[in-house]
Amino acid sequence: MIELINVAKSYPNGIDVLFNININIGKEEFVFLVGPSGAGKTTLMKLLYRDETPSAGKVIVDKVNVADLDVKQIPYLRRNIGVIFQDYKLLPRRTVFENVAFALRVTGAPRSTIRRKVMQALELVGMLGRANAFPDELSGGEKQRACIARAIVNNPPILLADEPTGNLDPTTSWDIIQLLDKINKRNTTVVVATHNKSIVDDMKRRVIALENGRVVRDQQLGGYSQ
């Protein structure tokens, strides 16, 4: 589903972030991407949804090398990749419903479809009761649930989560990871970049560790550290 072949990334200011990355993630896998801050986790994620382009190598997502993707095709790539963030990136002046519906509206879906799918997504993340709340009125965990609902409302085959528990307390973090696990079991490939040692250790999933821009470990049923 996701394949990185000899990928390197340097930013225009001359800083090298990733070196010779080779990763292959299969369909419906659940993968943790771990490593200290600055190891290149976020950059690697951004390469997948073409928020950044690699300086070298191939980034293949669903059989397409997104590194050579025509700019006009990027929106269609992104509709197949759900992304969730540490800072949620919810639109502040819109309700939870509107935030989630937004991801469908941009695809030009009819209103009835939007309503049905948004309700389904909100139900899945346990936010039906908060549909009319504004982001300001939500707790951190609720914000992240809303963000997840937005990411999956299109039923994308891939879900990327960049530090999804970074701003959450341990209990809420665990709830969010359970939710991601549930989504993974609905045939979605899930990649989670995280610092959260206890979660990685408890989940016992495939772990890819990055350090200084290099893959230093790729282990099935791994823990946060070796």
């Binding site: 928020d51 992104r78 509709r79 990136k89």
Partner: protein, 295 residues
């Protein structure tokens, strides 16, 4: 596209009233620029009108010293009419000129007792179509054999012509310059509303919105700003022009101001359309800039 239209309209209105202050600033800027633009256009049109009216009142006088028959006079008049650029030729016979002269000056004098032979020449008053052709027509008339003398206020006309050319060229250049300045101001004002929504744009793009999709609500908002600004400018300009021209006509009745409603309406329509175009173009330029920097 049409299924999205409602969404775009709602988004545009929402953005308009959520950023009410910024929207008002943009509308105000567009209005002020358009009023300046409109005042200038009216000024140039009126100056042109004044110069044009004055010049069009100038005509050429051609004199024939010797007596000619009525038939000869008719032939000459025809020949003069045929010169390109001539609008109308008026023939004043020697006798008629003498009668006029007498009625104007001769009431107290028995001129007929003093003057035996009528000393006045046969006269043709020639009106040209445009003041520009005055001197060239005058030269052609002078070349006609039967004509002895041609008089027209040549130097004055040439000065008028130069002045009018200057007003036209300078006016056009200034109007273009003001248009550009207005566009720049509008682009920058709308850019502020776009920058205020940069996060929205980023998120829209992250969830897979195409550039066109992102652009539409902004373009609609730009058109709204432009139409509103244009209408306000129209009202301000119309009220002030009517007031100014009313007073000016009372104070200086001989100044030929443009009162033709068709011309004025055209200026006003151009202003409102111009405002609309400015708003849309401004929004387009601003959004495109932001879209280029966002991936």
């Amino acid at each position: 596209m049409f299924s999205n239209l409602e969404f775009f309209l709602v988004e545009a209105f929402r953005s308009f009233y959520r950023g009410a202050l910024m929207s008002l600033v943009a509308v105000g800027t567009i209005s002020v620029s358009l009023v300046i633009f409109g005042l200038f256009v009216l000024l140039v049109l009126n100056l042109g009108n004044v110069v044009g009216t004055v010049s069009s009142k100038m005509d050429i006088a051609a004199f024939v010293e010797k007596d000619i028959s009525l038939e000869q006079a008719g032939q000459l008049q025809l020949a003069l009419t045929k010169i390109p650029g001539v609008e109308r030729v008026e023939y004043i016979s020697k006798t008629e000129a003498w009668r006029k002269f007498k009625s104007e000056f001769g009431e107290k004098l028995e001129l007929d007792d003093v003057v035996v032979n009528n000393p006045l020449p046969e006269t043709f008053n020639i009106k040209v179509r445009t003041p520009d052709t005055l001197s060239s027509v005058a030269k052609q008339i002078a070349n006609i054999e039967a004509i002895d003398e041609v008089r027209y206020s040549g130097k004055y006309v040439d000065q008028m012509r130069t002045l009018m050319d200057a007003i036209r060229i300078g006016g056009a250049a200034l109007v273009i310059l003001i248009s550009f300045a207005t566009l720049l101001i509008v682009v920058n004002t709308i850019r502020l509303t776009v920058i205020a929504r940069e996060t929205d744009i980023y998120i829209m793009k992250l969830v897979g919105a195409t550039d066109t999709f992102v652009k539409w609500p902004f373009l609609i908002e730009g058109v709204m700003l432009g139409v509103l600004g244009g209408l306000i400018a129209f009202l301000v300009l119309k009220l002030s022009y009517d007031a100014i021209s009313f007073r000016l006509v009372q104070a200086l009745p001989f100044v030929p101001l443009i009162g033709d409603q068709r011309i004025l309406t055209l200026v006003y329509i151009v202003m409102v359309l111009g405002g609309t175009a400015l708003g849309m173009l401004g929004a387009h330029i601003s959004v495109s800039k932001v879209l280029k920097t966002e991936v």
